[in-house]
Subunit: 334 residues, 2 copies
């Protein structure tokens, strides 16, 4: 029921995902009266769908604390319950991010040994997709969180992108040891003595994210969120510049037949829908957040991320990796 | 003597600035043996230049604490001394940022009533140039610093860009009051009761910077630095995408005569040299930091920023504005 467009985009997205992953079945949580008429448009999808009706929904203005107290019969909460009860392998929602995180943590609980969850997503870069986390789950982080994020992020990068030993960088304002605040400096020290499913490359800076200096960028949720959105803003500005350049030049308009393919390719590469589907890592279940404003293509991509994680048994693998994590590192005060 | 290219770029930049601002004279601090032969290439520039020789320089690896203790006879320190002694109206350096800040604070002191300095720069946006600060002077900030930055930034925007009453936004990870860490929330409250040479627009997010939602974006030096560099990385990635699109398409190559102007304009608009020259606001003197890797055009732009500030008597104006700042706001614990 979530997102700017509700079931319309969800169903159209699910129909695309169905074609890509023919073995997948869908449980649709929400208002049957709204879902059923829309589902009739997709005959093949309807065959692999089951609607679980509820009148209640979490809105975008519902506070996480309120969602936890009064929203347990909402479509979002019931969908998360399904993951808890193993009826579903994962949940995808375009709804309220704060409520989704709060409900997921409450119902699914954290994976044993993990202190805090992190929102993670892929970012395009000069050297391929970069995994970045945390993008907004934790305003502030401690040393232990950074270490855990590097495990979560590198395993994500390993399984979904197929990287053997991803490189990890800690986001800072300079590459020297003396840069940044105390917790970052401490974490940098701990990283140098931590063995994980990754190669630690030290501090990286904002420009290194899209330049692809490392495969996994680890940061707190405040910095990560600002960096991600700043890059989105830059993309929007440059796209507008390109558009203006062509609109204001008659010669450029004449030449558009020649450069059409080059521009189309650029548009495709800058298409943020291909990067839709942020994952809440660290909770005991697969939870994917689709951007509220995305369309069916974006939503289909978010479903794909959840399916990929389920097929790779991500959480079980993460628990295995955590067993190898040095006990001393685990004890870092959380 | 600073920057990746030393006096060569500085002199060529100064020569461009000389043409733009014929009334300006230059004091060149550094190694006479290196400067003199280069200066011979610019006869007109040489007439408005005076070389003040020193053997000592601050290198890029010199720690700020070491610069303060042992670098007082360096070209950087002597140039700052000249501002202190009113021999110069401002100093421009492409050298070590940390050392420049430390020496500037030590020699020039803060403006009376200002707690911490901020590095400020213009950023291109959909609605015109945005003033952003702090970009790296303070890893962490308190409420008072955010308030002061808004005064410094909006006055900068007012004088250099000619805006009557600039709008100010506080960088956060959401626009709701409950978002972000405690100090941001507190500052948000104080802003709503502060009268200044600006209109406070509340929280803004990363994408709002380049979308130009406000004229002045206020943030701490850690977040600001990461956001700025993230946007630089995005620009670099997209430029590479454009380049690749044209390189790989024969048709696009054929069409380049048509779109040449549109692309050239885009390149100009994305030219970061036009935004070179970060200002250290809050110190009692005009201090401009040029990017170490910039060329003569970028350095000329940084000189222009210093001249603009001197001509507008920025620091005196800031002091006047501070007088109007509510005493209660000033008393916010720093």
């Amino acid at each position: 029921m979530g997102g700017d467009f509700g079931p319309r985009v969800v169903l159209r997205g699910a129909n695309i995902a169905r074609k890509r992953y023919p073995h997948v079945e869908f449980l649709l949580y929400g208002n049957e009266k709204k879902i059923k008429p829309l589902l009739k448009r997709y005959l093949k999808l309807a065959k692999v769908c089951q609607i679980i009706h509820t009148d209640e929904t979490i809105t975008n203005t519902t506070k996480p604390s309120v969602a936890i107290r009064t929203g347990r019969q909402s479509s979002m909460a019931l969908a998360i319950d399904a993951v808890k009860e193993k009826k579903a392998d994962g949940v995808v929602s375009a709804g309220n991010t704060g409520a989704l995180m709060a409900l997921a943590r409450l119902v699914l609980k954290m994976l044993p040994g993990v202190d805090r969850p992190a929102i993670s997503s892929f970012i395009p870069s000069l050297t391929g997709d970069v995994t970045m986390l945390d993008l907004g789950a934790n305003t502030e982080c401690k040393e232990r969180n950074y270490i855990e994020f590097s495990f979560m992020g590198s395993l994500f990068s390993k399984h979904i992108l197929g990287l053997k030993k991803p490189t990890v960088g800690l986001l800072n304002i300079g590459s020297e040891d003396i840069k940044g605040h105390e917790i970052l400096k401490q974490s940098h020290q701990i990283f140098q003595n931590t063995k994980g499913p990754f190669e630690y490359k030290g501090f990286v800076e904002g420009n290194d994210i899209m330049e692809g200096k490392v495969n996994v960028v680890v940061t707190d949720g405040f910095t990560g969120n600002v960096a991600l959105k700043s890059m989105e803003g830059a993309t929007k500005l440059i796209s507008e510049y390109i558009y203006q350049g062509f609109r204001h030049s008659l010669l450029a308009k004449l030449g558009i037949v020649f450069v059409y393919n080059a521009l189309r390719k650029l548009k495709l590469r800058l298409d943020i829908r291909r990067y839709n589907g942020a994952v809440l890592l660290g909770v005991n279940g697969i939870v994917v957040k689709s951007h509220g404003g995305t369309d069916h293509l974006g939503f289909a991509h978010a479903i794909g991320v959840a399916i990929d994680m389920a097929m790779h048994d991500y959480n079980q693998q993460l628990l295995e990796e955590f067993k190898n994590l040095d006990m001393e590192t685990k004890k870092v005060e959380s």
